[in-house]
Point group: C2
Chain length 357, copies 2
C-alpha cells in the first residue's frame, strides 16, 4: 500500500513528506499511525549525530499507537486492532530472547532507527510484541476517556520507567526516589506510587515538582539551590520518617545529566538499588567502590519488554498513571518546527504528533 511520512535526508536538514510502498511480509503488520511521541532520542538522531542503525534517509519516531490495517501471512488476526507498538521489539527467537533478555536482542526492531518509524501515516513492524488496546469507547475499560493518540507515549516514556521500576524489585512500602521529574521521571513517579511505594521527586524545575505533588509524589525536593549532601539528608529524613531502610530504597536516575547521575549515586545506601534510566554521553566521576561497601547495585535499563505492556496499559486506563497533564498533542505537519523548538528548549510535556486525515 502507498504510505507517506516525514523523511530525514540528512542531519538537521528539514524533513520532507514523501511517499513509499509498504506491504506486510510474513509475521508483519502495517499500522495506521494514530499518534507518535517525540522523544529526546529523536532529537539526538536528528541534531547530535547519534547514529541510527539504518542510515538516512529514514523516517524517525518510535513512540507509536495506531490501528492495524494490513497483516502478512500468519498474523491476519491483528487486522482492525488498536495497538501500542513497543519501542523495542525483540525477535523472540534468539538465545538472548529465549533467556528472557529481549532488551538486548541483537535482532530487535526499534522503529525510527532500524526501520522507518512513526512520523507518517503508517508504519510496518513485526506483529510479535504488539500490545493490544482494549475498546476505548467502553467506559468500563476506559473511564478517563483517553484516546488512542495519547496512548502512544506508553511505548517509551511510560514503559521504560515501568521496566526499571519492576526490575529494581520495588515493592509496596518501599521508597522510590526519582532524580529528574521530566518526560520519563514524571511517569516513573506515578508508576512507583501506583505500585504502593512512597515516591520522592527531585528536580531543579519547580513547575515540574508542583505537578508531581499532584501526581504521585509524596515528597518533592528542589535540588536547584541545594548541595548534594543536603539532598541526601532530605531523602534520609523522609526514609526515617517512614521507617524505610536503605535496602528498601530504589533510586532512579531519570534526568540523563551528569549532575543527576552524581546526585543519584550519592543517594545509595546499604543494599540500595540505583536504576540508570536517563542517558548522557558524558562521563561522571564517582566512588565506584561505594557499591562494594554498601553491597549495592547500579542497574542500567534499556527499553521495556513487550510482556510488560498490557499491565502498563491497564495502569494508564485505570487512571493510576495520568497522561494528560504530561502530554501535548500537535499536528504531524508541525514536525520540523516542533523538532526545532524542542531542540532549543526542552518541553515540560511530551509532544505527540498526530497525522492529519
Amino acid at each position: 500500500m502507498r504510505v507517506e511520512s516525514w523523511v530525514v535526508r540528512g542531519p538537521a536538514i528539514p524533513m520532507t513528506w514523501e511517499a513509499r510502498e509498504e506491504r506486510a511480509g510474513p509475521d508483519e503488520v502495517v499500522v495506521e499511525v494514530a499518534g507518535c511521541g517525540v522523544c529526546h532520542t529523536d532529537l539526538g538522531f536528528f541534531y547530535d549525530g547519534v547514529p541510527t542503525r539504518h542510515p538516512f534517509p529514514l523516517t524517525l519516531g518510535h513512540e507509536i499507537s495506531g490501528v492495524v490495517v494490513d497483516a502478512g501471512p500468519g498474523v491476519e488476526e491483528w487486522i482492525g486492532r488498536a495497538v501500542v507498538v513497543p519501542a523495542v521489539l525483540p525477535c523472540g527467537a534468539c538465545d538472548a530472547c529465549r533467556a528472557g533478555r529481549g532488551q538486548i536482542c541483537p535482532n530487535q526492531i526499534f522503529p525510527g532507527c532500524d526501520v522507518d518509524g512513526g512520523f507518517g501515516t503508517h508504519v510496518r513492524v513485526p506483529a510479535r510484541g504488539l500490545c493490544p488496546v482494549p475498546d476505548l469507547s467502553d467506559p468500563q475499560a476506559n473511564p478517563s476517556q483517553l484516546d488512542l493518540p495519547l496512548l502512544s507515549v506508553i511505548a517509551d516514556a511510560v514503559s521504560t520507567p515501568y521496566q526499571a521500576v519492576v526490575r529494581s524489585g520495588l515493592a509496596a512500602g518501599d521508597l522510590a526516589v526519582f532524580v529528574g521529574a521530566g518526560g520519563i521521571g514524571g511517569f516513573g513517579v506515578q508508576i512507583a506510587a501506583a505500585l504502593g511505594a512512597l515516591a520522592v521527586a527531585i528536580d531543579v524545575d519547580s513547575t515540574r515538582l508542583d505537578r508531581m505533588r499532584a501526581h504521585g509524589a509524596a515528597t518533592t525536593i528542589d535540588a536547584s539551590e541545594m548541595p548534594t549532601k543536603q539532598v541526601r539528608q532530605r531523602v534520609r529524613e523522609v526514609a526515617e520518617a517512614h521507617s524505610i531502610p536503605t535496602w528498601r530504597t530504589r533510586i532512579f536516575e531519570t534526568s540523563g545529566t551528569v549532575a543527576g547521575q552524581s546526585t543519584a549515586f550519592a543517594l545509595l545506601g546499604h543494599g540500595g538499588v540505583l536504576s540508570i534510566v536517563g542517558y548522557t554521553p558524558k562521563p561522571v566521576e564517582l566512588r565506584l567502590s561505594n557499591l562494594m561497601a554498601f553491597d549495592a547495585i547500579a542497574q542500567g535499563n534499556w527499553g521495556c519488554l513487550p510482556e510488560y505492556y498490557p499491565a502498563i496499559v491497564d495502569l494508564v486506563l485505570k487512571g493510576r498513571v495520568a497522561l494528560r497533564p504530561f502530554v501535548e498533542t500537535r499536528a504531524l505537519g508541525s514536525i520540523n518546527s516542533t523538532f526545532e523548538e524542542l531542540h532549543h528548549a526542552p518541553a515540560n510535556r511530551r509532544v505527540v504528533l498526530i497525522p492529519e486525515r
Copy 2:
C-alpha cells in the same frame, strides 16, 4: 577463660601481647584459633585510619579457622568442632536478614572490627553462621591433606569472590573475567573455573598470571603495557572464539584500584554484569550511561553469607580451588614485622598467622 592476643593500642603502634578473660555468652562460642589470615583491610585499620567499629584497643583479624573450646547456653553442641568463622556474621533475626540480605545486617559481627578478632589464642563469636569443617584426618573428605590453619583464608579471600560469582549469575559455559589476580582474584578465577566458566585473568604482574595459568585461567592478559582498548579487544576475541555473547560475560573487579575499575567498566557489553569486589576509596571517571545503553549491571559485593560456606569448603577440600600456592603461613609472633612488610610491599601470597603452642 584466660586468652591472649595481639592488641592494637593505637594506629601503627606495634601491637602488644595481652591477656584477657573471655566467656561464651548465650548462643556464643570461644574458638581456639588455628590460623588467622592477614587481609588488606587489617592494614587499612592499622595504618590508614580506616575506622574499626569498636575503637582501639582492639585485636584485629577476621579470617579465622579453629576449634570450638567453649560454648554458651543453647549452642553446646559446637564444643570440639573444627570450624571456619565467616568474616561477616549476620544476626539472622533483623528485617534485612529475614529478607535474605544478611550482607547488610546492621547487627552483623565482623571479628577484628566489631569485637576482638583472630590474632590471638582464642576468639569469642556468635555460634550462628559458623561453618563446620569435616574430619581433616579422613583422606576421603580431605584428599589434598589440607590442615585447619590453611582453611582460615576461606573466611574472606575465598568466600568473598565466591559470593560475587554466585550473585553474578555465572553459569557453566559463561565467560568470567577477573581484573586483578591477587589475593581475591586468584581464588575468584579458580572458583569460576570450578563452576564451569571460561576464566580470564587480567593483571599487571606476570608472576601472578603465570600462577593463574596453572590454576584455572583459560587465558591471561598482561595489562601492564597495553591500553584499555587493546585489553577489551583481547577479551572480545576470547569470547568470540568460544561463541560466548556479552550477556553471558561476567566481569569481576578484584584489584581494588582505579585503573582496574576503569578497565573492568570498559569491558562491559550488552547485558553484561560487573561485580565490584575490590575496594579503593578513590573516585573513578566513567560513562555511567553505558549501563543504560548496554542494559548492564554493576553489582557491589560485601563479604559472603554464611549459607554459602559449606559449598566453598567442599570446593577447597576437593582440590577444585587450590590454597597452597596462594597462601604462606607464619608464626603469630611475627605479626608486627609481617604487618610492616605487607604495608610496604603487598605479598603475592596470603599470609596466615598461626598461634604458637
